[in-house]
Symmetry: C2
Subunit: 237 residues, 2 copies
């Protein structure tokens, strides 16, 4: 089956967690909004409710045959067992999804570090508020999230969040670390020595053949100042 992924064409954003999973799976997919002949218009059609199906609230969404699935963690929950990206047992799937939802919470907080008042305002219009929030984010929240995943990684041998078995949640943690390094290089330089298991996991995911090929390709959009991870030096002290 050829999947259709719908996401903003010029940023990594939430869609990147799905792109990475599709790439690791070697799945057949098209990134619809990046196609010259279809593009963003096709995406907007669904958001504006002009389609017959069940309407998504926001991108990303994935068309898989007759199904249209939205919400990043929901898409991954559906994709992973079909592509060997999660163990078969129910307990493992529930645990993986739980971790993915925790990554999703972490991602919201990362975004809100530069947009604490709301996504509708420019960063420049919420700079003092961002400084306060980002200081709290790097000093308190990053150590809390990293401390948690480090503890999870230390529970079992194997080096993956689920222990011996690589899963889609490892890809998501890789992406969090990649994004945080772009957005908060100074904070990350200070923090990383405390979380060696997380850093090692990032490296192991990056060197998986399909992920490495994807990261080196033009399909990987560079981090930029329009995405969720943004680098404002004044927020990274």
């Amino acid at each position: 089956m050829r999947y259709e992924l719908y996401y903003w064409p010029s940023i990594q954003g939430r869609g990147e967690f799905v792109r990475l999973a599709l790439e690791e799976a070697g799945a057949d997919y098209v990134d619809v909004a990046r196609l010259p002949q279809r593009g963003i218009v096709a995406l907007m059609r669904f958001l504006e409710g002009k389609s017959d199906g069940r309407p998504p609230f926001a991108p990303p969404f994935l068309k898989a045959g007759k199904l249209m699935i939205a919400q990043t963690a929901n898409i991954l929950l559906w994709l992973a067992p079909r592509h060997g990206l999660v163990p078969k047992s129910e307990a493992a799937r529930v645990w993986a999804h739980q971790l993915q939802l925790t990554v999703a919470d972490w991602l919201v907080e990362t975004h809100d570090a530069h947009h604490p008042i709301g996504g509708a305002f420019y960063y420049e219009d919420q700079k003092p508020e961002s400084k306060r929030r980002a200081a709290h984010f790097t000093a308190e929240r990053l150590p809390k999230f990293f401390g948690y995943v480090e503890r999870v990684l230390g529970r079992e041998r194997g080096g993956w969040l689920l222990g011996q078995t690589f899963s889609y949640v490892d890809i998501s943690l890789f992406q969090m670390i990649a994004g945080l390094r772009y957005a908060f290089p100074r904070a990350m330089e200070r923090l990383e020595p405390k979380y060696p298991r997380s850093v090692a996991l990032h490296g192991r995911v990056a060197s998986r053949p399909r992920i490495a090929a994807y990261l080196a390709s033009k399909r990987r959009i560079a981090f930029n100042q329009h995405g969720i991870f943004r680098h404002y030096p004044e927020l990274d002290t």
Copy 2:
């Protein structure tokens, strides 16, 4: 099976979405942190990683036999098919979970209206920021979320989010509306006439026998100024 729910004992918060589903299901459960003989200590044990199992990042979490499940939407995803709170088809479950995750996003934004800088600071220490964020929340975000659920409710006859079939997502939308009425009574008075299907759904859920009995019982904690939904008149203009 007797479930054990772990959540903060003095607020509705995220735990309330699980409590309501358990009540509607007539499930056998104990609200562990509210038991005099166990209480908050039992909850903290898990958060501090002093248990053997897979550690939750935050409450609520549900012990179901050997499984320990965290993340509200993940708990509901697991519980609902076991208690007839979602149709059996995969398409319906994916759709219900997608809607629940959208409610979860809405809930984060509701919380952040009074805590835009971070949960670690008192409201009093982020009042000007809260005023800006709450104004944006009531003027832009509430209409966006309500417009979306109203559109979903208008897709099919039946009056429930899934159409003809009542599901756990209807309970969650009921709780959102109940909480928003407490937190933003003036904004809601202005908005509600525009979203009659949502308002009708709230009433229908509230009058379901088990939900009505629960709401009238001492098990239902009153909304208060420590939860996610808080009433600050200066944020409700």
